[in-house]
Symmetry: C2
DNA sequence: CCTACCGATCGGTAGG
DNA sequence: CCTACCGATCGGTAGG
């Protein structure tokens, strides 16, 4: 992993990417214009191109930042000596935390990746497919060890990951419940649905 | 409810809306152009405007078709004399079936509604909020009657509806499992997660 | 980092 | 339903 980025060593490019994530989340990738982004950053549109190559570069930076974090945590979880159910809980907590604390980037990666173009598009889809297979393998293992109900592992992964992406709706109405409570509620329902 | 539409009494406008749903699902509302849509329909772009007022009309027709079906089924379910858990199962089966059999429109309504403009936008958001509150009320009722675990009803609704929207991924890889099996698996996990 | 500007494409209209 | 066309806006470049 690279250097840790504090506020003081964020490059101008990092700032642009971060503001782009917010803009893409609000408007969608296609509807967001480079002129709007320039306004937010505080420069003229042409000046953005001294720091980035294209609009699409912003999107693939965002998507692969997120995808790489996911594959990294999966490496860690797979290596741990804990039960399948505990592994799943750990992954879910990671996803929930990602949605709560890195909302803009995770959301964009999840909803706007289809606007990537090749080779990034194929690459992203591959990483995604691989991640889900690894997740499903953990569930399958849990079923074999009788920790988990007999269900279709692929469907279970699909349900859990999408359920978490629903935290988007929670983000729009921050009042009712805090992040920690949300996390505990989600874990109760999702992990509860798997247990024998 | 209006007349039942068979293939033979679909108007030209209905055909355009249906093809638009497919196009918007594939490309996203903003990225889809009226020239592409015209190509698919088999006319010149200008000719579309003899049947529709604008691109945005297509979007709100799609979104409100779906939203109205949801509120209609909710009316029915609320009126039935069955347990809360059975009501929830019924609603979930309706949603799952909608995703499987009316995929294009449901998907567009779910992911592209933010491109609606007022008054349609506010209207849609209101309908959505109301629907979720009614759903949460059923869950709350189930908790009170001790049919359902003590969880946050709002979070539970959020999880279940988004989990179902994940059927999108299933649509992309039709091989493995059929629609009925998918439905049973989802019900097992989701309803299982609620039971005491 | 800015001014000035380009070609492409967009949703939509006029007129027949 | 088509031809012809409009003004607006887009991502991006040249040149300083």
């Amino acid at each position: 992993m690279g250097r840790i980025k504090t506020d003081s060593n964020l490059t101008r490019k990092d700032v642009i990417i971060s503001k782009a994530a917010t803009l893409f989340r609000e408007k969608g990738y296609k509807a967001a214009s480079m002129r709007e982004l320039a306004d937010i950053v505080g420069v003229e549109a042409a000046s953005l191109y001294n720091h980035i190559k294209s609009k699409s570069e912003l999107l693939h930076e965002i998507c692969f930042n997120v995808a790489n974090r996911f594959s990294h945590i999966m490496d860690e979880v797979e290596a741990e000596k804990i039960s399948s159910l505990e592994k799943i809980e750990k992954l879910l907590r990671f996803h929930i935390n990602g949605m709560v604390h890195h909302f803009e980037e995770v959301y964009v990666s999840d909803r706007e990746w289809k606007y990537l173009s090749d080779p990034y598009l194929s690459n992203f889809q591959n990483q995604r497919r691989t991640y889900r297979k690894r997740f499903a393998a953990i569930i399958e293992d849990g079923i074999r060890k009788k920790e988990i109900k007999k269900i279709d592992p692929t469907t279970a992964v699909l349900i859990m990951l999408h359920a978490i992406s629903g935290i988007e709706s929670w983000h729009r109405s921050k009042q009712k419940i805090n992040g920690d409570e949300l996390e505990e509620n989600m874990i109760t329902i999702l992990v509860g649905g798997l247990k024998k």
